[in-house]
C-alpha cells in the first residue's frame, strides 16, 4: 500500500544521506564519491524526506500526516542502517 | 570524570539545586506564570493554569541540566535564591490583590 511506499521513500532518503558521508561511501557504492556528487546525494536525501512528508500530509492531513511521517522516517532510517550494516559486513569478508 | 572541582560538597550542592530547590523554584514559577497569564494578560484561568503546568515541566528539566552544566555552583545558587525571592514576592502580591476562583 501507499504507506509502504512512503517507508521505502524514507529508506531511500537515508541511503542518499549515508552516501553523502565519506565513511559510508565504500560500503554502499564500493568507492569514494566526489564531493559534488556527495552534495547532490545529500540534497536528494533531504528532498525525499520532504517528499515523504508531503505525501503523508496529502493523504492524512497535516496533523495526522506529520505524526505518521515521523514514525515512517524512523522505520526508513532503521532499514537504511540494516542495509548499510549488511553491505559493510560483505565488504569486510 | 575530568571536571576539576568535582568534590563531594560541590556535587551535593548541585544535587540539592537540581532536585528539591529546582522543584520549589519551578513550582513558584508555575504559580506565578499562571497568575501572570490570567490576571496580567487576560487569559482565562483554566488555560492559564494548564499553560503554566506544561511550561513547568520544560523549566524543571532544563534547570536540572543547568545545575550540572554551569561552572560556578555558587552563582547557580545565588541566581536560584534571587529568582525565588522575586517570584515569591510577585506571587504574594498577586494573590493579595486578586484572590483565586
Amino acid at each position: 500500500m501507499i504507506h509502504v511506499l512512503a517507508i521505502a521513500l524514507a529508506c531511500a532518503a537515508f541511503l542518499m544521506l549515508a552516501v553523502s558521508m565519506k565513511r559510508h561511501q565504500r560500503d554502499l557504492v564500493g568507492r569514494s564519491v566526489p564531493e559534488a556528487r556527495a552534495r547532490l546525494a545529500r540534497i536528494a536525501g533531504w528532498l525525499l524526506i520532504a517528499l515523504c512528508w508531503a505525501l503523508e500530509g496529502w493523504l492524512l492531513g497535516p496533523a495526522l500526516g506529520t505524526i505518521v511521517w515521523i514514525g515512517e522516517i524512523s522505520m526508513g532510517a532503521w532499514l537504511a542502517i540494516a542495509v548499510i550494516n549488511w553491505r559493510s559486513g560483505r565488504s569486510t569478508r | 570524570m575530568g571536571r576539576s572541582t568535582v568534590g563531594r560538597a560541590n556535587v551535593a550542592a548541585r544535587l540539592l539545586a537540581a532536585i528539591p530547590a529546582n522543584y520549589l523554584l519551578t513550582s513558584l514559577a508555575a504559580a506565578a506564570l499562571a497568575r501572570l497569564l490570567w490576571r496580567g494578560l487576560g487569559v482565562d484561568p483554566a488555560n492559564a493554569s494548564v499553560a503554566a503546568m506544561l511550561a513547568s515541566f520544560v523549566m524543571f528539566s532544563v534547570l536540572a541540566l543547568v545545575a550540572f552544566g554551569v561552572r560556578s555552583t555558587l552563582k547557580l545558587w545565588l541566581w536560584m535564591i534571587g529568582s525565588g525571592a522575586v517570584l515569591s514576592a510577585g506571587l504574594w502580591l498577586s494573590l493579595a490583590s486578586g484572590g483565586r476562583l
Partner: protein, 520 residues
C-alpha cells in the same frame, strides 16, 4: 568550554539514566505492550470472538448493572471500540462503601452477561502497570513513575547535549566490538526515534501533570474541584430524591450525542443516581475518534432523556494538553500507525536496556580486579539481569499462566498477575546466586524458551493455534504468535552471543596482571 559541558552532561546522563533505569525499562516494556492492550486482552480470552456493537453493549451493561447495583451512586461503562469486544463496568456502591478491587467491577459481553469463562486482566493489566505498578497504593506508584519520567526526560536532554557525533555516527551500528557496539546500539536506538522518545516522555509527565505540578491550578483556584467543573463540566452529584424512575434506553441518547459530534462514537458512559428521578447520564466521545484525548461530552437527564447540553474544554493550553495526552496513549491510531508506535516503543525499551548494559561493559574493562568487582558494579549487574531477562520471562509466564491456569480458579485474574511477578522474582534471585556471566546466558535462554512456549501452549490448549488462525484469517492470533516467536528468537540469539563471547574470553590467553608478575 564545550568539552567540559559535554563531560558534565555525560556524567549527568549516566546517573539520571542509571538510578531509575530498571524501573524505566519496565515502564517502557509494558507501556509498549499497552499499545496493543485490547488485542492482548482478546488473545487472553480466546473464547470471546467477534466484535461488539456499542449500542447493544450499552443496553446490555445497563441490564447487568440494574441487577447487580441498582442503588449505586454511579455506574461507569467503558464501551467496546473497534479493537475490543467486551464492555467494562465499574460502580460506586450506594451504601458509601468502596468495594475491594474486583467486587465493584465486571467485564461483560455485548448481551450484558459477565464473562466468567476465563477471568483475566488481559492487556489492561500491562497498561495499568506501566504507571500504577502493582502491590502498592497507586498514589505512591504514580509519584515514583513521575520521578522516573522526569529522570528519563533529563537523561534524554543530557544525552543529546553529550552525544558528540550525532550526525556523523547516525548510521553506525557495529557488531562484535564490545563496548563500542553497545554504545552504537544505545546511540542508534536513541537517535533514530528521538522525536518519539522526547514526545512519549514529556507527554507521559503531562498525563499526570496535576499530580506532579498542581501549583498552576492552585494559584488560580482555591480548590481543584472548581477547576474540574470549569474544564470538564462535571457537576457535583445531586442527592437521590427517592422517587424511583427507570433509566431511559441509552441507545437513542448515544445516537443523538454521536450526531452532535459529527458522527464520532461514544466511548464512555457514566450514570449518576441510576433508577432515580435525579439520574444523570454523561456520554463521552470515544478517545479513538480524534487525536485529542479529552473527548467532547453530552449530558442527559436519565429519567426523561432530555438533553442537558454538552461541554468541550477549549483554549490553546487545554487543547495542547488534550492532544499531548492523545499522542501519548495513541488511542487514535489505526493499525498501521499503531505498529509504528509499538516498534518505536521497542526501540525505546532497547535504548534503556542497552544503556544499562553499557554501564557495566564500560566499567568492567576498568575494574582493577575483574574477579572481585566493587559493590556498585555487582549491584548494577545483578539488577540488569533482574530487569531485562527477568521482566521478559515474567511477561511470557503471564501469557502461559493465562493458558494453563484452571478456568474456575478463584481470583484467577490476580493469580495470572502473581505468576508474572513470581517468575520475575525467581529470575532475579537466580541472577543473584549464579556467577554473573552464566546467569546472563541462562536467564536470556529461559526468557527465549518461555516466549517460544507461548504459541505451542496456545495451540495445545485452545482451538486458535497458529495453523488454525491462518486458515481462518484470524490475523490477531497470527500476529501475536509471530511477535512471541520474534521475541523468543531475539532472546535466544542474545543468549548464544553471550555464551560465545564468554567462551572466547575463556579461551584467550590470560591477561597479564601486575599482581601475578612471575619473576623470571
Amino acid at each position: 568550554m564545550k568539552d567540559s559541558l559535554r563531560q558534565s552532561m555525560a556524567l549527568f546522563h549516566t546517573w539520571s539514566g542509571l538510578l531509575l533505569g530498571w524501573l524505566l525499562f519496565a515502564m517502557f516494556a509494558t507501556g509498549t505492550a499497552a499499545y496493543f492492550q485490547d488485542e492482548i486482552t482478546r488473545w487472553m480470552q480466546p473464547e470471546v470472538t467477534g466484535s461488539a456493537d456499542p449500542e447493544t453493549s450499552a443496553q446490555g451493561a445497563v441490564r447487568y448493572l440494574n441487577q447487580v447495583a441498582p442503588d449505586a451512586v454511579s455506574w461507569y461503562i467503558t464501551l467496546p471500540n473497534g479493537r475490543s469486544a467486551t464492555t467494562q463496568v465499574y460502580w460506586q456502591p450506594g451504601d458509601g462503601t468502596r468495594g475491594k478491587r474486583g467486587e465493584t467491577s465486571a467485564v461483560l459481553d455485548q448481551t450484558g452477561r459477565a464473562i466468567t469463562v476465563r477471568e483475566t486482566s488481559g492487556g489492561f493489566f500491562l497498561y495499568r502497570f506501566h504507571f500504577d505498578l502493582h502491590y502498592m497504593p497507586v498514589l505512591w506508584a504514580r509519584y515514583l513513575v513521575g520521578i522516573a519520567a522526569m529522570f528519563m526526560l533529563t537523561a534524554i536532554l543530557s544525552g543529546i547535549v553529550t552525544h558528540k557525533k550525532i550526525f556523523a555516527d547516525f548510521f553506525m551500528l557495529r557488531f562484535g566490538k564490545g563496548q563500542r557496539s553497545w554504545l552504537d546500539a544505545h546511540n542508534v536506538t536513541a537517535v533514530i526515534a528521538l522525536p518519539f522518545h522526547l514526545m512519549i516522555t514529556f507527554t507521559g509527565l503531562v498525563t499526570l501533570a496535576s499530580m506532579y505540578m498542581p501549583w498552576g491550578i492552585a494559584a488560580n483556584y482555591a480548590s481543584p474541584a472548581v477547576f474540574q467543573e470549569q474544564v470538564f463540566g462535571r457537576e457535583p452529584a445531586a442527592e437521590r430524591s427517592g422517587r424511583a424512575q427507570p433509566l431511559v434506553d441509552l441507545a437513542p441518547l448515544m445516537r443523538a450525542a454521536s450526531a452532535g459530534w459529527g458522527g464520532k462514537q461514544v466511548g464512555y458512559i457514566s450514570v449518576t443516581n441510576p433508577g432515580d428521578a435525579t439520574a444523570r447520564v454523561l456520554l463521552t466521545r470515544s478517545p479513538g475518534a480524534a487525536i485529542a484525548a479529552r473527548g467532547e461530552t453530552a449530558a442527559f437527564a436519565g429519567a426523561t432523556g432530555k438533553a442537558l447540553g454538552g461541554h468541550t474544554a477549549s483554549g490553546a493550553a487545554l487543547a495542547t494538553e488534550s492532544v499531548m495526552i492523545g499522542l501519548h496513549t495513541g488511542r487514535f491510531a489505526q493499525w498501521g500507525l499503531r505498529w509504528l508506535y509499538f516498534l518505536s516503543g521497542i526501540g525505546g525499551t532497547i535504548m534503556v536496556g542497552s544503556g544499562l548494559v553499557l554501564w557495566t561493559v564500560k566499567r568492567r574493562a576498568r575494574l582493577p580486579d575483574p574477579a572481585r568487582p566493587h559493590f556498585g558494579f555487582r549491584l548494577v549487574e545483578r539488577l540488569n539481569i533482574a530487569a531485562i531477562p527477568g521482566l521478559a520471562t515474567g511477561l511470557a509466564v503471564y501469557f502461559l499462566a493465562n493458558r494453563l491456569l484452571p478456568g474456575d480458579l478463584a481470583q484467577r485474574a490476580d493469580r495470572e498477575i502473581d505468576s508474572l511477578f513470581l517468575a520475575w522474582l525467581a529470575v532475579g534471585l537466580w541472577g543473584m546466586v549464579r556467577p554473573a556471566g552464566r546467569a546472563w546466558t541462562e536467564t536470556l535462554a529461559l526468557a527465549g524458551a518461555c516466549f517460544a512456549a507461548v504459541p505451542v501452549v496456545n495451540a495445545l490448549t485452545t482451538s486458535r493455534g497458529f495453523a488454525a488462525s491462518i486458515m481462518n484469517g484470524d490475523w490477531l492470533f497470527v500476529a501475536f504468535d509471530v511477535v512471541m516467536i520474534a521475541l523468543a528468537a531475539s532472546f535466544l540469539h542474545a543468549a548464544s552471543k553471550v555464551a560465545q563471547h564468554r567462551a572466547k574470553k575463556a579461551a584467550a590467553p590470560p591477561r597479564r596482571t601486575a599482581r601475578k608478575a612471575v619473576s623470571q
